[in-house]
Symmetry: C2
Subunit: 501 residues, 2 copies
Amino acid sequence: MCRDRLNNTYAQVMYDFSAEPGNNELTVKEGETVTVLNQNVGGGWIEAQNSRGESGLVPEDYLQVSVCDDDDDGEWDEEWDDARSTGGYGETTGEEEGEATGRNTHTHMKISLNKFAFSKIPNPEVYLLAKLPPKGKDRLAIYMGDVGPVWLYPQSPLDCVVADPKKGSKMYGLKSYIEYQVTPNTTNRPVNHRYKHFDWLYERLLEKFGSAIPIPSLPDKQVTGRFEEEFIKMRMERLQGWMCRMCRHPVVSNSDVFQLFLTYRDEKEWKTGKRRAEKDECVGPMVFSLIDPEAPELDIIEVEQKCELFSRFTKEMDDGVKDLLNVGNIHWKRCTGPLRKEYQKIGKAFQNLSSVFNTSGYTGEATLTDALTAAGKTYEEISQIVAEQPRKDLHFLMETNNEYKGLLGCFPDTIGVHKAAIEKVREGDKMVAAGKINTQDKGTMAKRISIMCYSLQAEMNHFHSNRIYDYNRVMQLYLEEQIRFYETVRGGQEREGSMKR
Amino acid sequence: MCRDRLNNTYAQVMYDFSAEPGNNELTVKEGETVTVLNQNVGGGWIEAQNSRGESGLVPEDYLQVSVCDDDDDGEWDEEWDDARSTGGYGETTGEEEGEATGRNTHTHMKISLNKFAFSKIPNPEVYLLAKLPPKGKDRLAIYMGDVGPVWLYPQSPLDCVVADPKKGSKMYGLKSYIEYQVTPNTTNRPVNHRYKHFDWLYERLLEKFGSAIPIPSLPDKQVTGRFEEEFIKMRMERLQGWMCRMCRHPVVSNSDVFQLFLTYRDEKEWKTGKRRAEKDECVGPMVFSLIDPEAPELDIIEVEQKCELFSRFTKEMDDGVKDLLNVGNIHWKRCTGPLRKEYQKIGKAFQNLSSVFNTSGYTGEATLTDALTAAGKTYEEISQIVAEQPRKDLHFLMETNNEYKGLLGCFPDTIGVHKAAIEKVREGDKMVAAGKINTQDKGTMAKRISIMCYSLQAEMNHFHSNRIYDYNRVMQLYLEEQIRFYETVRGGQEREGSMKR
């Protein structure tokens, strides 16, 4: 991120945004530059300050936080402890610096095409025309299922639990960090990992599989919570969610690097494995060389159509998900803000009236004043219920959609590799004419684009089945909580009503 | 009302008011002068324009609409038909001009102490020292009930129905008006009255009973509805409410003028009765001369204490009622505005996502897309229910509190007469010393202030018993509707939830 000598981070405003009064928001205009005060407020918001010194929240989608090319520190530490002492999440922690090495949200990456290879569309030529290495044991199996090409799924699905965050320290206690316990269901043996290990894993997976499989960013920037414990809990929950999604992917979960992360037995095995993974040369588009589906070669037209279909679908779903997140955010804020206050005020107004009535000196109005007081209290309870409801139902809906937002943000790059390959294959005749390739190479390219297309289809089918599972689950939970909500409120009202009669 | 040559009405801003965005409101500052565009938008709002030409709604309590002393036309017509054709409720109708002759809301009256006798605190001296006229048949009976002094209530309560508004015309059809049919339960024979007759009745009642009994203003300015039919319906409902309250008052309902209004048999009887009523000299503080409670004389200290108690109670209830009206207004606007839109948007977001999912080409997700669509539709239904709810429950709560706001606004003047009388009696010794009155006069004054105090107690007891009845009723209806509301929403959600399983 770009910082000036005062260590400030800046952002460019991409769209006009009007603050809603009383919600701690900041009105900004397209083209304006603001200072980023806190990127970790959560819920899709960034705390920013304008040139007039006014500060408030702005939706993160409305801002483009600057990325500099001169920022490339490979080493960082989780100095959240220091960060806390010098101003909490508003300050840039070592981890956030680390983001500049590639862990930004995907949208951001796309806009600020920086120097890191994986953020540009990798050139598929290396695979299309390469002399393939001998087939090893790490083949990626695709077979034809009911829905078309699918990855080979393991008999028993991998899963893991991220738990028990513990504070560790190094450099004689000068620097502290959090270590999480990760326990896979295969060995049932916990291994310890710091956030930076997760980040290392993410980079390896992105590098190796990014051309074929969308690898969502680690949940770092989206972490909410202003207090240490809340922050750690939230980060842990989201690391758990990220690990679950990786475990559910047959290709990712079966890879050497992922298995190493989950099952290394000692420091030596971890270090050896790390070194091996970092030396892996079958990365980027070369990952397609691991695939050899037993299926008829696909026509380039068909390949292109499928690619277009997936591109359109993921783009449209991305819009739909962002729309839902937007309105969900607004509703969340209304429930916990103005609506809560309003019900409180109605409650207070009823109770005030009851107090006044109690001073009348007139006999026989206890029933009325009791009823008014109870109605007032019911409204105060409704105020509480309404304010707490988002945490109960909207939370899960938002978390799931946030996860999908991250996942969908990876598709343009993944699909981009395929589109670039199609382009290349379409140029085949010209390349033959120019003597750059021979007709045999052209045949190889046609065969390989077909393999890539099977890979993309398998990945889309994986995405669809997960999507259906996840959304069915989240909708059911959401609607059940909503029913419980209206039942709770009605219950209170009914008790109230019956008291009056 | 003050108007300039362009026929504009102005108002002074009494308190700062911040507009809520998207709600068609106008931010105004204390001391600012605004042009009144429409006083009849209803719900306690006035449409106003500031000096920069911006216009929007401002709560009527925040504005003081100017009153001029040079505006005294005794004759007016209900030219709502003309008003409609020249710009609707925004234009000042003949009736509104009539308001300057005394039919403003009470609060307004207090502030702009104008030349009309009944808006100043009438001087109780006329009664305290007057030689009383011989006792006639129209005595106002007070007896000692369980709760203290009470008016004598009739065996069967008077009631009437205001219905069947009909358009009439005069001046060869050049001017048109609305005539309402008023049918009392005593004769069961309908009589016809125009709004201006109601207004005449109001003035007579105020003149005759205003010192002893709060006579609420006619519902004119508060009428909502942008279309003729809605306007007439609303006015009729409020005239009905006003008549009901008058019928329920034992003193008012039994008075000659009120009986004339309800039971006149022909034009001649009406005109004769009108003339007699207008000549009635037993008005203002002299109304106390009609009271002769059979009860021990009250000590001046006790009189003062009771007066203070009632003054404090009505002031505090006035604050409480206004508070409830304020928060009710805000809640009404939120339900019909932002909240409705928000639920609509959530509904649309779910349905959009469903549409996108439908284009996946993946098999077996009909259950999910059906559920998403249904959830979306449910939210659109909730949006409707939420928007319509205020009309079902809040409406009645607001109408009742509005009525009480009007009634409570009359108490300061009524209580003011009593306080002025107490002042006078306390000066008794000085007046004797100055030779203005003799000791016998002083005794008379003490006896008469005691009578006034019985009258005030009877009136307060009448107010309390009505208040308890009205608020019990409105709270019960409100809570029942609220339960129905949450049940309806929950029902929809539940159908939705069960579909999904």
